[in-house]
């Protein structure tokens, strides 16, 4: 299988602090790849670099063979690369449902011409978007709060809304940044099922940052361990869990 995301020799420093150090990772098409590592390993920074939110110092990022180094996030969205945020982002002054309806690009109602002269087209398309948004909101279990302003939702609900956004469009790759943090256990199970279903049925590729090892174990293969800004090990979850280097990185050197 081909790598849909190919990060080659990326370096990034904040002031004197070298956060990403000659890091190269590949995400296979159709996989759910996990990205783990101790705090400060550079996971989120690497995510921001791939997602176009942060310029890199040197190196290259390829999306399906196309150079996307330092391309802005909005361009990547249209190329099918979506992300969620570690601290959940939402349009706080729109309802949860409107947040989802906001996502699909190029809606007919967005031009004055159509809005006035083709009201039937606009309302038909809007109905379709609304139906899809309602399906998604059922899917992520937020049906009961669909008409609440997104800013009033709880942290966990906002996280779910983030996942919902990625389901509103035909994504190729979705970067999930700690989607499980703050989501309760029962919901977590649904979340994992949903991610698997999206992966299997819709062909989404996922790159997942996660601290929850159960979730990583259930979901991800392969898993990449990042430490001090570069890849330490890569392999299946069993290989990772039994790797002495990883154990040392997480728990410190056995004294």
């Amino acid at each position: 299988m081909a790598a849909i995301i190919d990060v080659q020799h990326v370096n990034k420093a904040f002031g004197g602090l070298k956060v990403i150090n000659d890091c190269s990772i590949q995400v296979e098409q159709g996989s759910i790849t996990g990205l783990i590592g101790p705090n400060g390993a550079g996971k989120s920074t690497l995510f921001n670099i791939i997602a176009g939110s942060l310029p890199l110092d040197s190196g290259q990022v390829l999306l399906d063979g196309e150079d996307i180094t330092n391309r802005p996030a909005n361009e990547l969205f249209h190329k099918g690369l979506l992300r969620t945020f570690q601290i959940a982002h939402e349009f706080s002054h729109m309802t949860a449902l409107e947040n989802l309806m906001m996502v699909p690009p190029a809606q007919a109602g967005e031009t004055l011409f159509n809005a006035w002269l083709k009201p039937s087209l606009v309302s038909r398309q809007e109905d379709e978007v609304r139906r899809r948004a309602l399906e998604v909101i059922d899917f992520i279990g937020l049906h009961h709060v669909r008409n609440e302003l997104a800013g009033n939702l709880s942290g966990g609900q906002k996280k779910l809304l983030e996942l919902g956004r990625t389901m509103m469009t035909d994504a190729r790759v979705v970067l999930l940044d700690e989607i499980a943090a703050g989501v309760n256990r029962t919901l977590l199970g649904d979340l994992v099922t949903n991610i698997e279903r999206l992966n299997r049925e819709m062909g989404y590729t996922f790159l997942v940052i996660e601290h929850d090892m159960d979730m990583i174990a259930r979901l991800c293969d392969p898993v990449i361990v990042l430490a001090q800004g570069s890849v330490m090990v890569e392999g299946s979850i069993e290989e990772i869990q039994n790797n002495p280097q990883v154990i040392e990185a997480y728990f410190g050197a056995a004294s």
Partner: protein
């Protein structure tokens, strides 16, 4: 009846005139704030710049309006709006964008905009001189005197041509802005960006385009406000600069970042100003017999003297900030 005419002339019309100018100015300030999160102090001078462009263009093309039966300044206003929009985008590229790229705090942008204020004012002074000039270069200002169809109404309601245009254009601008924000892709993107810029970008919205569009709208509106104000009185290099305080008061009263609030705020401040300096003794004249003597004897019953007009927006500002810090419409997001 004459008292009513006096009231219409001095409060209804005068208040609507300043209200409209403040409203158009405040909408620009509020849009810039909601997208870029800083108070743009150079807005008054962008207004002056727009009026200055109209002055240049009418001098260059005298008689342009005669063919259509409207003042030349009005025919050339769209061109001046385009030039001011261009200036606004240019200023952003040259001064604000580099600052934003460094991720500075909003206060640095505010100080930067003060620098732009001084620069623009200096430039306009350099080319236009410091004296007042009429924007009616080649034609004459029409003044309409409408006699009221009531018995005993001797004085007419007086309204000038630029005032009429001001009301019409304000209405069109506000409706246009409403449609733009609610019924267009860019407007929707603007609303999204004012809510959460990072998420907007991650949802495929090109934030650079939105910033440019914001400047184009703010610049165009500034040109309208500056030109119509200068048509009503005269063009002066510092005319709009002195409107900065009431305009910011209007934006804050309406809730910063809220365009409809800015419109409402503009009229609140405009009417508050005119009502505060209005001489109420005239209105009391018909009731002279039934009122106590001390109230009717005074010839001037204004709340504040005309020369202290500028304290009114200040006062409103303080009251609003204490009573409702987020403005009457709860601003921050379009």
């Amino acid at each position: 009846m004459n008292e009513l005419v006096f009231f219409i002339n001095n409060v209804v019309i005068a208040g609507s005139v300043s209200g409209s100018i403040y409203a158009i100015g405040a909408v620009g300030v509020t849009l810039i704030f909601s997208i870029m999160r800083f108070a743009h102090f150079a807005h008054g001078d962008m207004m002056t710049f727009g009026a200055f462009m109209v002055l240049l263009l009418t001098t260059a093309f005298p008689g342009a309006g005669a063919a259509f039966g409207v003042p030349s300044a009005l025919i050339l206003l769209p061109l001046a709006m385009a030039l001011t929009a261009l200036l606004a985008v240019g200023i952003d590229k040259a001064f604000y964008k580099p600052l934003r790229a460094h991720g500075v705090k909003p206060i640095v942008l505010v100080i930067g905009s003060l620098g732009v204020t001084l620069m623009l004012q200096g430039l306009i002074r350099l080319f236009a001189g410091t004296s007042g000039q009429s924007l009616y270069v080649d034609d004459r200002k029409e003044i309409f005197r409408l006699a009221l169809p009531f018995e005993g109404a001797r004085a007419p309601v007086v309204i000038t041509e630029p005032q009429l245009y001001l009301f019409v254009i304000t209405l069109v601008a506000v409706i246009g802005l409403h449609l733009f924000l609610n019924r267009s892709r860019l407007g929707k993107a603007m609303r999204a960006m004012s809510d959460n810029p990072d998420l907007a970008q991650a949802s495929g919205i090109n934030t650079n385009t939105i910033v440019a569009v914001t400047w184009v709208i703010a610049g165009g509106l500034a040109a309208i406000a500056g030109t119509l104000l200068s048509l009503d009185v005269t063009f002066k290099p510092d005319l709009s600069f002195f409107l900065l305080l009431p305009i910011f008061a209007a934006a804050i009263v309406g809730g910063v970042g809220h365009p409809y609030g800015a419109v409402a705020g503009g009229f609140v401040v405009g009417f508050a100003e005119t009502l505060a300096v209005f001489n109420w003794s005239v209105m009391l004249r018909p009731f002279r017999d039934s009122l106590p003597e001390w109230l009717t004897q005074s010839g001037n019953l204004a709340f504040v003297g005309t020369e202290y007009k500028i304290v009114v927006p200040f006062f409103i500002l303080v009251v609003i900030l204490v009573w409702r810090p987020t403005g009457i419409f709860k601003g921050k997001v379009i």
